[in-house]
């Protein structure tokens, strides 16, 4: 991480030297993402609504982190009520929706098939509203001074955009890895509890059974002694 931070610090120093020549730069792209982890009680259905514009894309990725069976029903519907995707009893999934109409898209997690186990569900929404308003090349008009800086600044802009999109992807992947790890950890913790519990039960059963067997065998021997004398 250290060399990346050094590069970024050098970049910002260089830019602060030439920054008074630049006025307008491209806006950030409109991709936003949010992730939520919530617990879905047994026998319940939880729905979430997301307002979307036309000609945008919505990507949803979900995963079941905890709960017996680690599965949940999932469905996405468009604002006009049409069912777009439907998953039955999956433990994870990813869907991309290209929106053709404005409105509220509904996605639901359904745990009605299970009457006792509560599920812990993680989902991540990645929205991409494709309205880039400003022209990225606008800044060229405002540069006064040495022309040799033009190309260098364009390179810097490209590099920065590149780094930004890669970092965005890294954050998304990190969130996903965290969800995977949480699921494995929950699974292993419940395994541990189960193994612990049943081993102790095994111990008691064994002791009781051995005591009973000893008692019964002693009983047989005592009878024999009585017969002899």
């Amino acid at each position: 991480m250290e060399p990346v931070r050094m590069v970024l610090c050098l970049l910002s120093v260089f830019i602060s030297l030439v920054s008074d020549r630049l006025v307008v730069l491209a806006s950030f792209s409109q991709a936003t993402d949010s992730d939520f982890t919530f617990s879905l009680p047994a026998g319940r259905k939880e729905c979430f609504y997301q307002t979307m514009k036309k000609e945008a894309s919505l990507e949803i990725e979900y995963q079941v982190l905890d709960g017996a069976g680690l599965d949940v029903d999932f469905s996405i519907s468009s604002p006009s009520g049409q069912l777009l995707f439907s998953d039955q009893r999956k433990s994870d999934g990813v869907h991309t929706v290209e929106t053709h109409e404005d409105g509220d898209y509904v996605f639901c997690f359904d745990n009605t098939f299970s009457s006792i186990s509560e599920k812990l569900v993680f989902f991540e929404l990645i929205l991409d509203n494709m309205d880039q308003e400003e022209d990225p090349d606008n800044w060229k008009e405002h540069i006064i001074g040495t022309d040799s800086l033009d190309m260098k600044l364009e390179d810097i802009m490209d590099t920065i955009n590149n780094v930004k999109s890669r970092l965005g992807k890294s954050v998304q992947i990190q969130t996903l890895l965290r969800a995977f790890e949480a699921r494995d950890r929950n699974l292993q913790e419940s395994n541990f509890d189960r193994v612990n519990f049943w081993s102790v039960v095994n111990l008691f059963v064994m002791m009781v059974v051995s005591a009973v067997q000893v008692y019964l065998v002693r009983l047989l021997f005592e009878d024999k002694r009585k017969i002899r004398t």
Partner: protein, 217 residues
């Protein structure tokens, strides 16, 4: 802001659609919303490393299902927000109709944010509470327009600052994930120990028991 749109909800379907869009979640970056009934509690879990700022924006409104329209905002409807640490300690408690809550995590782990709507008058049938929610943590809580004004940065400097904050966040998350892996290995080890040694202990016990019994008889 959106209340004007509320009052004028006419019969034209297109206008209704705009009302839907303009209505809830105004001013929030993400417009994800969900329904709640009175007394119901919904909890969101945020797994974050230590010393991370978590900021949440929320917006509540009543919705009439039969008339399919939003009711004007009232002070009667409040949403109580409670944030708990991994050890179930309460670190934040808020109760407002709409607003923002923030807290900083002391320890790393799973923090729970629980929401519960409450009304001064009980809710009649056919009415539901619509809650818009947006929870952000780490670098995404920074208000870049404010930072730009305060430190007089240009756009390019601001973008580099944002990249630097993103890298810092990723680094923190990696450190946290390393400690989680360690815990995971410990649990794994415990399970394996039980599974490996228990049959051996059991067999040894049974054998000594039988020897003891046969000797004593």
């Amino acid at each position: 802001m959106g209340l004007g749109g509320n009052m004028e909800s006419g019969s034209l379907p297109r206008f209704m659609l705009e009302v839907f869009l303009v209505n809830c979640c105004l001013g929030l970056v993400s417009s994800l919303y969900f329904h709640m009934t009175e007394g119901e509690q919904k909890c969101f879990i945020e797994e974050i490393p230590a010393d991370t700022v978590v900021v949440g924006d929320y917006w509540t409104q009543l919705y009439d299902e039969q008339k399919r329209e939003y009711l004007p905002a009232t002070r009667n409807l409040t949403l109580s927000v409670a944030a708990r640490t991994p050890t179930d300690e309460l670190i934040l408690s808020h109760k407002e109709t709409k607003g923002r809550f923030n807290f900083t995590s002391f320890t790393s782990g799973e923090h729970k944010i629980c929401l519960q709507p409450s009304l001064s008058q009980p809710l009649s049938a056919g009415f539901i509470v619509v809650v818009c929610m947006d929870i952000r943590s780490g670098e995404r809580t920074n208000n870049y327009t404010e930072i730009q004004k305060r430190e007089l940065l240009t756009q390019l400097q601001l973008r580099v600052r944002r990249l630097s904050a993103q890298v810092h966040d990723i680094h923190k998350e990696l450190i946290y994930s390393r400690s989680r892996e360690k815990n995971f290995l410990v649990i794994n080890h415990n399970v394996n120990m039980w599974i490996y040694w228990w049959p051996i202990i059991r067999s040894v016990f049974v054998v000594t028991f039988i020897i003891h019994i046969t000797n004593s008889c």
